[in-house]
């Protein structure tokens, strides 16, 4: 699946010729169509907006009046954010935020670099068993994580890795590999063989072909996988909960938030601020790299 943006040359034409959807829309024309679109848009933004407003209101105000009263009686404070990040008498989310970063970065880089090697082998080298191995790895994408967790935990404990970042780095790398290989392989296949042939004639081996010819061309595919994997790992709860325990030594911010929601489910001043501390990173990435994000998301839709 690809969501190629329409080439810019055809944009002018499209503006004049209506699409099928545009014609279908005319039935519900203007007032009703606009109203329906606005209702959906409002339903989809108000819940987030309400919690965002709350995160800046004083604790007492959040607990006694609805966030909509903010507009008649606006009082803004940063206390909730201070409280949720502070490790002394708050929720100490700062340490968990650091853990999320420490977990996520290697969990993106490791599978990406290993998958580059594997995808290159599958795309450009002939060797016995190539097709069957590729198919097998493709099929592994659908294995639900749940099936692997208990035996993996046992393996980690036996290897003495329990309660270290390694359990999570390795797990996410393993779970990310099939998708990364599939995505990068498909992209590498699209590169004209002539380009590689020319480099080979010039005496380049596999290593220099990979670095000098392929890698620069692969940037969009690497970005798509990188962003998908980053958001997947950053937003993950199941893997972290299974391997990291609940303490602030290893557990990421999603675990801290989920626990806070379970133990203090009326502490809305902490929950609201905490939720936005965790949301800010993926949403920033989303806003900056929307194009790649969509591509990665579409490609990875059957994962996990």
């Amino acid at each position: 699946m690809t969501t190629a943006a329409p080439p810019s040359a055809s944009l002018a034409l499209e503006a004049e010729k209506p699409t099928a959807a545009a014609i279908a829309k005319r039935k519900l024309t203007s007032p009703w169509a606009s109203l329906a679109a606005i209702v959906i848009a409002v339903l989809w933004t108000v819940p987030t907006f309400g919690l965002l407003v709350s995160s800046f209101r004083p604790e007492r105000a959040i607990k006694t009046t609805g966030w909509w009263t903010f507009f008649t009686d606006p009082v803004v404070t940063m206390d909730n954010y201070k409280a949720v990040l502070d490790s002394q008498d708050g929720a100490g989310l700062g340490a968990f935020f650091v853990n999320s970063l420490v977990i996520t970065i290697p969990s993106v880089i490791i599978p990406m670099s290993l998958a580059c090697l594997a995808a290159y082998a599958f795309a450009w080298i002939r060797f016995p068993g190539r097709n069957i191995l590729f198919l097998a790895i493709f099929a592994l994408q659908i294995v639900p994580l749940q099936v692997t967790l208990i035996p993996l935990l046992t393996l980690y404990v036996d290897a003495g890795l329990a309660n270290t970042f390694w359990t999570i780095w390795l797990s996410h790398s393993i779970f990310g590999l099939p998708l990364a290989i599939y995505l990068l392989h498909n992209f590498m296949k699209e590169i004209p063989a002539g380009l590689l042939e020319a480099a080979r004639v010039d005496g380049a081996g596999h290593v220099s072909i990979f670095f000098r010819v392929l890698l620069p061309l692969m940037r969009p595919a690497l970005a798509a996988f990188g962003i998908f994997q980053f958001l997947w790992v950053w937003n993950d709860l199941l893997v972290a909960l299974t391997f990291a325990g609940g303490g602030d030594a290893v557990a990421p911010i999603t675990v801290a938030l989920a626990n806070l929601s379970g133990t203090r489910d009326t502490a809305w001043h902490l929950l609201s601020a905490g939720a936005f501390v965790s949301i800010i990173v993926p949403v920033t990435i989303f806003v900056l790299l929307q194009r790649y994000f969509v591509r990665g998301l579409l490609a990875g839709s059957v994962k996990g």
Binding site: A21, N99, F127, L149, A275, L297
Partner: protein
């Protein structure tokens, strides 16, 4: 470097050490590969490029998968062979039947409602002013974690006792009060609580449906539309006989993809109710049985059931992805 780190600096040091270690592994493989040339060398290069990947997948996915299937035939502690007893429990125990019912409701509702809303919105904002901004609003929840989304909605459903001087802080209950009703404890009563949890999943997935379907709609060839228009096909007919058939493969992909995601939903249930009040689903029950109740056998059986349920949907999905690849 394989210990537990104590402070921030140590954590980052450990992180860089891990990245360096993997960079070194890749470097060594490239170095070995660089020494070989010719046909036979090609094979050595290929297998050495694949070695780390195959090792990790065998140890981390294939072995654990087989091991879990094996464990699902043993008792809670994993010592005593019990045959199909764990599976029998899933299909006969009262609590487990609730889990199955809930999972069925989730999987039947979420994909269709999310896809319908996504498709409607894609059509409504197509060619509208500020189309990409309008789409970003609906798509944004995809970037938010399930945990974050759960907290956002838990606040919408928040309940405070129905007394004279107590005001509601949750939007849903406030709307009920404005309409003259009495506030409810939304997350306590089945089946309303499960339906309200499903709303969260629909809220997250509609953006995905909208994005894929919008791309499919824009890819419908101009001449087909033009021809239908010259034939005098009306707006509804245009949707029914032109748009819908053209985007059918994409619709199927979206439905099945959301279906698979819904089958494995865990974070929402755990964050919002912890699986209490009869809201548990298979993926959540797997976690509770495996790591809370220490019933490894039943947990494994639930994981295997999840796997078995995913397979037909994935098979169907892959067939349609092949068909829609040209989109």
């Amino acid at each position: 470097m394989f210990d537990t780190a104590d402070n921030t600096a140590e954590k980052f040091t450990q992180m860089f050490a891990a990245i360096l270690l993997f960079a070194a592994v890749v470097g060594i493989i490239l170095f070995i590969a660089g020494r070989f040339g010719g046909r036979r060398g090609d094979r050595i290069v290929a297998y050495s490029y694949l070695a780390p990947t195959l090792l990790m997948l065998l140890v981390g996915l294939v072995y654990p998968g087989i091991r879990t299937i094996y464990e699902s035939f043993f008792d809670a502690a994993g010592d005593l062979f019990v045959g199909l007893d764990n599976y029998k429990t899933i299909f006969t125990d009262k609590d487990q039947l609730t889990v199955l019912t809930n999972t069925a409701v989730w999987v039947l509702l979420t994909p269709f409602v999310a896809t319908a809303i996504g498709l409607l919105y894609a059509i409504l904002v197509d060619k509208a002013r500020m189309e990409s901004f309008a789409k970003a609003l609906i798509f944004m929840p995809m970037a938010i974690s399930f945990v974050g989304a759960s907290i956002i909605w838990k606040f919408v459903y928040a309940y405070r006792p129905d007394q004279a001087n107590v005001k509601q802080i949750g939007l849903l209950n406030q709307i009920v009060v404005w309409l003259g009703g009495t506030p409810q404890t939304w997350l306590i009563d089945w089946p309303v609580n499960t339906l309200l949890l499903i709303v969260v999943m629909i809220w997250i997935q509609a953006g995905f449906a909208m994005t894929v379907l919008s791309a499919a709609i824009k890819a419908i060839p101009e001449d087909i539309i033009e021809a239908a228009r010259l034939d005098g096909v009306g707006p509804w007919g245009m949707f029914r006989f032109v748009t819908l058939p053209a985007i059918r493969p994409a619709v199927v992909v979206v439905l099945t993809t959301i279906g698979i995601g819904t089958l494995k939903v865990f974070d929402i249930v755990r964050t919002m109710t912890g699986g209490q009040y009869d809201t548990s689903v298979i993926a959540n029950e797997f976690y509770s049985q495996s790591f809370r109740s220490d019933n490894q056998g039943l947990g494994s059986a639930l994981a295997v059931l999840l796997f078995v349920l995913v397979i037909p949907i994935v098979a169907y999905n892959i067939r349609h992805i092949r068909q829609s690849e040209s989109l």
